[in-house]
């Protein structure tokens, strides 16, 4: 079985999706989906271990066709890392889902939910493992389409308009990516990333390549919600069902960042005329990232809907990742990659906590969370821990990525950048503390039913994610260290 490791993470959810759909039974479908997710997670972990310990990427030729004609799955450390990220988040969030969606989604649609969820996950995993540029597009569409459907399941009417907006913008992004991919194919005659990278060097920065870069950048910018292309994100996160929000927020934008990393470092490279450095990496990306860090954080401060608040915070955090990626150094890249993972854990945990709250009080408005600290102490405590992670307080995963990011900035003697990063992280203090103060210092609204602590089946997954975000703030062997390994691989540093 081990030779199939590279393909398993995609295959399992992909096949399980129709099965869940066929099962039609709510419990059976969800059960199957959860089981499959966990198996996928295990497979992902084994894959990562294998890649890390053998020191060589796992390569899988689909249908036995070699790279020049067929699709090849090429799993290096980064890809395996993202696989683990997506599969672990997917598994935990789905474990959370049954009880949560019981209140948010009509019962007869649960199997549908399970199938879409698995499909979306399969798409994201596919993006991670594939070594084929067009295949990336295909999987991107698989995951996007199923995500649209998932979001539209939200009980709020606005979920539909949010989905529609996401659909339009997502499709624009996908189209741009497709155009870029096409142009690249035209120039290099191959879709395999490794070969493409080899051919790019020969093109000497032909304008077609540059145009391709422009399209790809704009397209992926939309997909990863890089400021100011984030317009689809807040509402989509806000009105989707809790578990969908958690899953999407934790994985889908991260995978887009992964794609960006792939393009910058694997295909186009960071040196020479045909590379993405120069305009994109040195100018556009940091500019968008920094403005996002500040503006989106500030917007988050003023939000009254906590899910929306967290959504804007996500936009800001994407800025950190993009900034790390754009620094083109080992620690910068490490920061970007580590933050993918760390932020996924933290934000996933936070959205799950919001799920718990929505489950009990039926609202995610800040005003309705007054006095929640005493009535849902465990949930709020977990929320606080997650919030600290967002700020980047030591002992949380957020700190680790911030550390690398600041270090990268300082290594390039960019003191101003380090200051900017740290200052913007202070904005997080404000929006996190707004929630904490509301929950702990204000009297609960009168006339509402007594609220009790969320059920264990919701609390445990939440606690697992938040706990993991703390764990990886202290023990970085399987988070930041792996990210560093991946960064070195991408930069071609011999390990």
């Amino acid at each position: 079985m081990s030779e199939h490791l590279a393909v398993l993470p995609v295959l399992l959810p992909l096949l399980a999706a129709p099965i869940c759909f066929l099962l039609r039974n709510r419990i059976a479908a969800m059960g199957t989906a959860i089981a499959v997710c966990w198996v996928t997670f295990v497979a992902g972990v084994v894959l990562l271990r294998t890649v890390v310990t053998t020191g060589a990427p796992a390569i899988y030729e689909l249908g036995g066709w070699s790279a020049d004609v067929g699709i090849v799955y090429h799993v290096d450390t980064l890809a395996a890392f993202v696989v683990v990220l997506v599969s672990s988040l997917g598994a935990v969030v789905l474990t959370f889902a049954p009880q949560s969606i019981a209140k948010e989604i009509p019962k007869e649609k649960h199997h549908f939910f399970a199938a879409l969820y698995l499909l979306s996950m399969a798409g994201l995993l596919g993006i991670a493992v594939t070594g084929d540029l067009f295949n990336v597009f295909v999987f991107l569409e698989i995951s996007s389409l199923s995500t649209y459907a998932l979001i539209s399941l939200g009980q709020d009417r606005r979920a539909l308009t949010a989905t529609f907006r996401y659909l339009i913008l997502g499709t624009v992004g996908a189209t741009f990516i497709l155009i870029g991919t096409g142009l690249m194919y035209q120039m290099t005659g191959t879709l395999n990333m490794a070969e493409m990278a080899a051919h790019i060097r020969e093109t000497e920065g032909v304008r077609t390549v540059l145009v391709a870069i422009a399209f790809l950048t704009a397209g992926i910018g939309l997909k990863m919600a890089l400021f100011p292309l984030h317009a689809w994100l807040p509402n989509a996160y806000c009105y989707a069902p809790s578990s969908v929000t958690a899953f999407v927020a934790a994985t889908s934008t991260k995978v887009s960042v992964y794609v960006l990393i792939r393009w910058i470092y694997t295909i186009f490279g960071t040196q020479g005329p045909g590379s993405m450095s120069g305009v994109v990496v040195d100018l556009v990306l940091p500019a968008m990232a920094i403005s996002g860090m500040f503006i989106a954080s500030t917007v988050a401060i003023f939000q009254t809907n906590v899910k929306r608040l967290l959504a804007f915070s996500s936009v800001a955090q994407i800025g950190y990742m993009a900034l790390g990626v754009s620094l083109v150094s080992e620690s910068g890249l490490t920061a970007g990659i580590a933050h993918l993972f760390n932020h996924a854990l933290t934000k996933g945990g936070l959205f799950l906590a919001m799920g718990c709250i929505a489950y009990r009080i039926g609202s995610v408005q800040l005003a309705d969370m007054r006095g929640l600290g005493r009535r849902m102490p465990v949930t709020m405590f977990l929320w606080v821990l997650g919030g600290l992670g967002l700020i980047g307080v030591p002992c949380t995963a957020g700190f680790v990525s911030k550390w690398y990011l600041v270090r990268a900035a300082l290594e390039q003697d960019a003191l101003y950048l380090a200051v900017i990063i740290l200052l913007s992280s202070l904005l997080a203090v404000i929006y996190v503390w707004r929630v904490i103060e509301t929950a702990y210092f204000q009297e609960p609204p009168e006339g509402k039913d007594e609220v009790t602590e969320a059920p264990l089946s919701l609390l445990i997954p939440t606690a697992v994610l938040i706990g993991a975000s703390i764990y990886f703030g202290l023990f970085t062997e399987w988070s930041a260290d792996v990210a560093g390994l991946a960064a070195r691989e991408l930069l071609g540093v011999v390990r």
Partner: protein
């Protein structure tokens, strides 16, 4: 036992005072100085007690001829004070009095600057309670000023010692001499406690506010300790001669116009210190002897005067010259002792002041400080004038105020009696005093020229007083608070603060308001742009976002094609 430093018994013992009551307390308190004194006497000559601390070798005790004089008189003063204060029931005073004395004794015997500093500060701390123990708002404020001055002296000393140690690495407390920053600061510290001109305000400010007994305690130790310190470290510093001369002269004027008799005494105390300071400044064996002797005598007669005034205060509740008079009828003993004290301070022959002051005057003459000598002589007349005559006259004689009260309590009389006896004893048998002086004395006070000269002076000043009183030129005793140099810190500096406060407040508020308005501006901008309805916060229209994508694409393309 014999290895304990002098004063140690007294020091520890004073803390235990509150444990006793009534007679036992009296006995215990009397025993304390006696035991301590016996212990001191039992110590061998050249005794030292050393202690290792922080890589320093502290000489906690060093008994030599100079310190011995002060050691003896301080013990004596403690003993007399205890007797005088036997009626006191306030634990604060009961503890702080002996403690204060013990600290002073400790300081006198301290052989290094660090221990000296520690005791120096201790005298300040323990003595301030004697003022506060009056328990009035006035005493409270005065005490605060006193404490600030005393600790100010302490910190100056500390700073000086630190610089000195840093310069020389030595902590020995021997002759220092002015010159470096460190020694100058030390000198300054001594100057404060010794109430040099312009630094003297604390003295006449605080002593009159102390309790009846407190004033007596205060009069004995602080300033004399400073004199000792100056003698130890700065003997022969010429500046001291002139400073001392000024000191002897200028308080006279204030003393003359002062109404509060205890304040008059304070001024005269200040003036007496001047003699000692001159003695130190001259720095010869004779003058140092004079200083030591004068300190010795001074403690006694000044205590006697303060005691008598204390007794008056105790019985009548006031020591205002304008309210007193004719008390000799009710308090004859007190009046008598007061007169003895007055004659001592005025240096009548056969009284203690005479035998010590002559030493200093002779030393000045011998060293050809003619001007200084004249100043001293003039000051002596002045002393006669305000302490020798004014005090007894206004309190016990003069116009009858009609106050009829009881004679002072027996223990007070006893204390005064002993002190008075000592004053006379020393005056009559100066050899006993000369025997314990630091240097060998070959001097006789009772030469005809000395005696005649002194008597002439005294009688002329008496005449002057009588003349002035008769002609009505003598300043009336008015109820007023005379401010001299303390106007600087009691009026001007607070005034300056009051004047500057609005400016400071204005600057501060401008700063704060400016900061606030910037914050408000930034917050406002943030709110306008980023609130849920703001430009960034509202849900962007899809078409706008598509436009943005297009723009970004365009920008990229332009950048690439440029």
């Amino acid at each position: 036992m014999s290895s304990l430093p002098p004063g140690f018994l007294l020091f520890l013992g004073s803390f235990l005072v509150p444990l006793f009551r009534g007679k036992w307390r009296a006995a215990y308190m009397l025993a304390l100085p006696v035991m301590s004194f016996l212990h001191l006497m039992g110590l061998p000559a050249g005794f030292t007690h050393e202690l290792e601390l922080f890589d320093y070798t502290l000489t906690v005790a060093r008994v030599d001829s100079l310190s011995m004089v002060w050691g003896v008189i301080f013990h004596l003063a403690v003993f007399l004070n205890v007797i005088y204060g036997l009626h006191v029931k306030d634990n604060v005073q009961l503890v702080c009095g002996p403690l204060y004395g013990a600290a002073a004794i400790g300081a006198v015997f301290a052989g290094d600057l660090i221990s000296f500093f520690l005791f120096w500060e201790l005298t300040s701390l323990s003595s301030v309670f004697l003022i506060w123990a009056s328990r009035t708002q006035r005493a409270f404020r005065t005490g605060m000023r006193y404490l600030i001055f005393q600790v100010g002296s302490g910190v100056a000393l500390l700073a000086g010692v630190i610089f000195h140690v840093n310069d020389t690495g030595s902590i020995a407390f021997d002759h220092l001499g002015v010159g470096t920053l460190g020694t100058n600061l030390i000198f300054f510290a001594f100057a404060i406690k010794c109430a040099f001109p312009l630094l003297h305000m604390w003295l006449k400010d605080s002593y009159p506010e102390a309790t009846t007994t407190g004033a007596v305690w205060l009069s004995a130790f602080t300033t004399k300790l400073a004199v000792y310190a100056l003698a130890r470290a700065f003997a022969g510093t010429e500046a001291l001669i002139y400073i001392g001369a000024v000191m002897t002269a200028f308080p006279i004027f204030f003393a003359v116009i002062e109404n509060d008799l205890r304040r008059v005494l304070s001024y005269s105390l200040n003036n007496q210190l001047g003699f000692m300071v001159v003695g130190i400044g001259i720095g010869t064996a004779m003058s140092i002897n004079g200083t030591a002797a004068h300190a010795f005598c001074h403690i006694l007669y000044k205590a006697l005067l303060f005691m008598s005034m204390g007794a008056v205060l105790h019985r009548t509740g006031t020591v205002k010259a304008s309210e007193l008079g004719g008390l000799y009828k009710s308090m004859p003993w007190t009046a008598a002792f007061c007169v003895i004290g007055a004659m001592s301070i005025s240096a009548f022959p056969l009284f203690s002041g005479f035998v010590s002051k002559s030493l200093i005057l002779s030393a000045a003459a011998e060293n050809h400080h003619i001007v200084v000598w004249f100043v001293l002589v003039f000051a002596s007349a002045g002393v006669m004038e305000h302490s020798g005559i004014k005090i007894p006259y206004f309190a016990f004689f003069g116009h009858d105020s009609g106050i009829r009260c009881k004679e002072a309590p027996p223990h007070m009389l006893l204390a005064m009696g002993i002190t008075a006896a000592l004053c006379i004893l020393l005056g009559v048998f100066p050899e006993t005093l000369y025997a314990i002086l630091p240097y060998k004395v070959e001097y006789s006070a009772y030469t005809s020229s000395h005696v005649v000269g002194q008597l002439q002076l005294l009688f002329f000043s008496m005449l002057a007083f009588a003349f002035l009183m008769r002609s009505g030129i003598y300043p009336k005793e008015l109820r007023s608070t005379n401010l001299d140099f303390d106007v600087v810190y009691r009026r001007w500096i607070p005034g300056l603060f009051r004047a500057l406060a609005p400016i400071g407040r204005f600057l501060w508020s401008t700063l704060i308001d400016g900061g606030k308005s910037i914050v408000v501006l930034v917050m406002g901008a943030g709110r306008t742009l980023c609130s849920p309805r703001g430009f960034f916060g509202r849900t962007a229209q899809t078409r706008n976002t598509v436009l943005e994508v297009a723009v970004i694409l365009a920008v990229l393309l332009i950048l690439y094609y440029a």
